[in-house]
């Protein structure tokens, strides 16, 4: 139990998907102008990462490893992810039409969020058990959502600030992200204790 808890903290905070591993940066810069869209994106991505990582784990173990097809990994994983995104879209539409309305255009774009493929590749390369892999994927995506929401909050404040013209928009965003990454480096002390 303790191992799993430590691994989850490590995946969510210490090796944060966005700020330490540099995955999912497009959505990190693209959809964090408001807290509610960032939270919606975080929620949908969390679901997709968890579901597709479980599926990718099964594909890797029962299909690719079993038949020696390791070289097809990139192609199969991206297909699994695209189907998982489609499945998520259909489920959300059926279960909660209001949430579907809120997420709108962001849903199909999760396919090309490299955090999804990145987490799947990381857990396959880490040779984890099924439960470990699922928890790792879930914790990583929670870390992703957390950083998305924090950064959206910062940018809402930033929109009101007087920024020099040359720095307006993305550059000041990068500099703020740099400070946030420095703050998250403080978590690296946890893993040793």
């Amino acid at each position: 139990m303790k191992d799993f808890a430590l691994m989850m903290i490590g995946a969510a905070l210490v090796n944060n998907v966005i700020l330490a591993r540099f995955l999912g940066l497009c959505s990190f810069m693209g959809v964090t102008t408001r807290i509610d869209t960032a939270a919606g994106m975080g929620l949908a991505t969390t679901f997709v990462i968890t579901v597709s990582s479980m599926a990718d784990w099964a594909v890797q173990h029962y299909l690719l490893d079993a038949y020696g097809l390791g070289f097809l990994r990139t192609v199969t994983f991206i297909l699994v992810i695209a189907s998982a995104v489609q499945f998520t879209e259909m489920t959300i539409k059926k279960v909660s039409p209001s949430l579907f309305q809120m997420l709108g255009i962001y849903l199909p774009l999760i396919t090309t969020n490299c955090a999804v493929l990145g987490v799947a590749l990381l857990l396959v390369e880490g040779r984890m058990s099924f439960i470990g892999a699922t928890l790792f994927a879930f914790a990583s995506s929670l870390g992703y959502s957390l950083v998305m929401i924090i950064f959206a909050g910062l940018r809402e404040r930033l929109a009101l600030a007087q920024v020099p013209r040359l720095f307006a928009g993305p550059p000041i965003g990068f500099i703020v992200a740099s400070l946030l990454a420095m703050a998250f480096m403080g978590f690296s002390g946890i893993s040793t204790g």
């Binding site: 497009c26 959809v31 990139t74 991206i78 493929l117 040359l166």
Partner: protein, 224 residues
């Protein structure tokens, strides 16, 4: 027509630079730029994938129907990435080990897909090939620039290990600009990646402004 090709080259390398203007493909642009050598290698791998997939999409563009084009594009990119992945593993194994996870991740890099959708899906094969190639080379320039700045400030070297990764002919590129203990570790760590990229976007805006061009404020703001 010649003028067209000139625009494609200029757009790819500077005016519409994938990283500094359109802000696409940010993940490898920050993760793989702890040194100029890594950035250069990553950029070349991406350029190869972009040129090949742009060409293929342009050749088959009349056969790909509108509804299924995104999955088809992704599959074409994924197939090209697999080829590059296998080729690098065979012939540039040292570099392959350094880039690791980020070679398969070229699939979900938004830059190739953005160029397929915006350019190759509508244009003939040859201009598409050029567009893919020069967008990729622009990406390489951006990654090498970010890597160079981070490496010089962070560890005081430039193109360290280039001979190890690309072959002995590149030995002459390895430079040491600052004494060993002068490096600022922060630049090699993640915060340095964000900081340098942000500042280099500002540098590009300054150059554009001086040349009398309108500066692009927003970037493409793609959410892919």
């Amino acid at each position: 027509m010649a003028n067209d090709y000139k625009t494609i080259v200029k757009d790819g390398l500077w005016d519409n630079n994938g990283v500094f203007s359109m802000l696409l493909g940010m993940c490898p642009a920050m993760a793989m730029t702890t040194s100029a050598t890594n950035g250069f290698g990553m950029g070349l791998a991406t350029a190869a994938v972009m040129a090949a997939s742009s060409f293929l999409v342009a050749v088959f563009r009349s056969r790909i129907t509108q509804e299924v084009r995104i999955p088809v594009f992704i599959l074409i990119v994924a197939a090209m990435v697999t080829l590059v992945d296998l080729a690098m593993n065979a012939w540039m194994h040292e570099l392959y080990k350094v880039l690791g996870l980020f070679i398969p991740l070229i699939v979900s890099n938004c830059l190739p897909l953005a160029r397929l959708e915006a350019f190759a899906a509508k244009q003939p094969a040859l201009p598409s090939l050029l567009d893919g190639l020069f967008m990729g080379l622009g990406f390489t320039i951006a990654l090498t620039a970010i890597g160079a700045v981070r490496e010089i400030i962070g560890s005081g070297t430039l193109f360290a290990d280039a001979s190890l990764l690309f072959g002995p002919a590149f030995k002459a590129m390895e430079l040491r600009l600052l004494p060993t203990d002068m490096g600022v570790l922060m630049m090699i760590l993640p915060p340095g990646g964000f900081l340098v990229t942000g500042l280099l976007v500002v540098v590009k805006r300054m150059v554009d402004l001086r040349a009398g061009k309108e500066i692009q404020m927003g970037g493409a703001h793609s959410v892919a």
